[in-house]
């Protein structure tokens, strides 16, 4: 081996200097790239939160959805304030003219229920400038989906006539034409009705007894038409609702998150799966539910229900905390008055064709037992009645409200009731 010459001194320093140069360059690269990654993380949060905020407004009002999404994007990206959103169809662009941009598509992939938010941010570099890279373009996206909540809190727009309920009264299967008991408490129209069957109607629905010109003797609440809210008087649908009813049911049971599925989309959850426990027939041995609020004139005698003598609609009692409140198989049905002075038509026990007023005198919360298969959607509708105790809670901890949301008047089908 050659002997190291006298002039070899300083080699270590030279090598360290070279290595240090690479280290510093690597550190500089790390600073710029991690800065971009940090920006990407923040932008992803911005995209997610703005998409989740704006999606509530679609599909009804895509323009409002864009505005809300942009507002939340700007709130989470403070340096972007002070500009204007440019709308084009179902898309909107909000930019600062320097490449930073918020883009919102309120009908992503042509689907009016999907929203996409794309954030484009120009991130300046610290050390990249030395090699001609003044900035890094960061692009993050979020796509979110608006799904109507299908649950027992929404009113199913079908009228069940008091005293003649047998669990399948609103059956359109045997009819070619007719309104099948269709109500339009929100607004009229076949598509509105179809969507109401699919998703239920959110709102505050009350009951009313006695003369329409006098306040309800139990609650003191007057008769109010349902184009206002809260309300207790609904109009019927004048047209043929057979088609919309079946379409609505198909949409209602299109629930890929159910425990029981047929063909990957049809919710076939059993009563036990909806309740999270085996159902308890009303009046079973050892089960003595309170009877407050029970009206023989509406439901038949309690003894009859307790002994499960109803031919079609079985009665069950539930007072647990595992109720799957979002199940589309859970629905609340208004029981309507058939007094002739309420203009129900001349034949008791039938609903009128043509627009008429009917009033709600009570509510049933039901489990829709049939159709239990896809093929059954066009066939008979059968249901069981669930009576809920005061301790009922949804499986996610929410209190269960049989119908409506909040209000000064008790309503619904609570056994313990005013």
């Amino acid at each position: 081996m050659r002997r190291i010459a006298t002039g070899d001194g300083g080699y270590s320093a030279l090598w360290v200097a070279i290595v240090a140069l690479f280290l510093v360059a690597s550190a500089a690269l790390a600073v710029d790239t991690s800065g971009a990654f940090g920006t990407a993380q923040t932008d992803q949060t911005t995209a997610d939160l703005s998409c989740l905020a704006g999606v509530h407004e679609i599909p009804d009002d895509p323009s409002a959805g864009i505005e809300v999404a942009v507002a939340y994007a700007v709130d989470n990206w403070a340096s972007m304030s002070g500009h204007t959103t440019v709308h084009s169809g179902t898309t909107g662009t909000y930019g600062d003219g320097a490449g930073n941009e918020i883009f919102v598509d309120a009908a992503f992939s042509g689907d009016p229920s999907k929203m996409r938010v794309r954030i484009v941010e120009i991130e300046g570099t610290y050390f990249g400038k030395a090699i001609g890279h003044d900035s890094i373009t960061v692009v993050q996206e979020a796509v979110c989906y608006h799904q109507e909540v299908k649950n027992g809190a929404g009113l199913l727009p079908i009228g069940a006539l008091a005293g003649s309920w047998n669990g399948d009264l609103f059956d359109c299967a045997a009819k070619i034409t007719g309104n099948c008991g269709a109500l339009s408490p929100d607004s009229p129209g076949a598509n509105v009705y179809r969507d109401a069957v699919a998703n239920g109607i959110d709102g505050e629905f009350l009951k009313h007894h006695g003369n329409r010109n006098v306040a309800d003797p139990d609650t003191g609440y007057p008769a109010v038409d349902c184009f206002a809210n809260p309300c207790n008087v609904s109009e019927t649908e004048p047209g043929n609702m057979v088609g919309p009813w079946h379409q609505g049911l198909t949409l209602r049971f299109d629930d890929p998150t159910a425990q029981c599925l047929e063909a990957s989309w049809f919710n076939c959850d059993s009563l036990a799966q909806v309740l999270g426990a085996a159902p308890i027939p009303l009046g079973s041995s050892g089960v003595t539910p309170p009877q407050l609020g029970w009206h023989d004139s509406l439901y038949g005698t309690f003894a009859a229900a307790s002994s499960a003598t109803h031919p079609n609609a079985q009665h069950y009692y539930f007072n647990g905390d595992t109720l799957n409140c979002d199940s589309p198989r859970l629905a609340t049905v208004p029981i309507i008055a058939q007094n002739l002075d309420w203009d129900l038509g001349s034949v008791p026990g039938t609903l009128p064709n043509g627009r008429k007023d009917v009033k709600f005198i009570e509510f049933y919360t039901i489990y829709i037992r049939e159709p239990s298969t896809i093929a059954g959607i066009g066939g008979p509708i059968a249901s069981d009645v669930i009576w809920f105790g005061p301790d009922t809670e949804c499986s996610d901890g929410r209190p269960f409200v049989a119908v409506g949301s909040t209000g000064p008047v008790d309503r619904g089908v609570w056994l313990v009731d005013s």
């Binding site: 081996m1 002997r3 190291i4 006298t6 070899d8 001194g9 300083g10 270590s12 320093a13 360290v16 240090a20 280290l23 510093v24 550190a27 790390a30 991690s34 940090g38 993380q41 923040t42 949060t45 997610d48 939160l49 989740l52 905020a53 509530h56 409002a64 505005e67 809300v68 507002a71 939340y72 709130d75 989470n76 909540v149 959110d202 949301s405």
Partner: protein
């Protein structure tokens, strides 16, 4: 074969000269990476807290911020951050209102929103021979999803 007498120890001397810089660089990378991780964790915690807060309905001004903060604390504790030093501003800001804990923020979105701002004031950067402090912060604002 050995070095000549006058070269003996030169590598040691050179290493001794360079070592402080290498240590400074190494500690600088370590402490900066740690600060970066803490900052990311706080940002993530703010986001998770905002999403959780969005689903608290009804919002209770006394109890809900504490419930939401528990989510942030769980996130930060998992990253070994001393949650006691983290200050927060967690609030339901009604449409058109100005935040009380962050007066610089006014809600103009047309909806009620949950504001979450988490701060780590005076985070200490250790560079072996000296230290410095910076303020770390994570902010997220989500739409409050009240029941219809």
């Amino acid at each position: 074969m050995g070095l000549s007498t006058k070269e003996r120890g030169s590598a040691l001397v050179e290493a001794a000269l360079i070592l402080p810089f290498l240590l400074l660089l190494t500690f600088g990378i370590w402490t900066t990476a740690r600060a970066w991780n803490v900052n990311n964790t706080i940002a993530h915690a703010a986001r998770e807290t905002a999403r959780h807060g969005a689903t608290i309905d009804p919002w209770d001004a006394a109890a809900s911020p504490e419930a939401a903060r528990a989510v942030a604390d769980a996130d930060m504790a998992s990253a070994s951050i001393d949650t006691r030093v983290i200050t927060d501003c967690i609030e339901l800001v009604a449409n058109g209102a100005t935040s009380t804990c962050d007066p610089g923020h006014t809600n103009t979105t047309g909806t009620d929103q949950v504001l979450v701002r988490l701060r780590y004031p005076g985070y200490r950067l250790e560079f072996l021979f000296f230290s410095s402090t910076i303020d770390l912060e994570g902010t997220a604002i989500s739409r409050h999803e009240a029941a219809p």
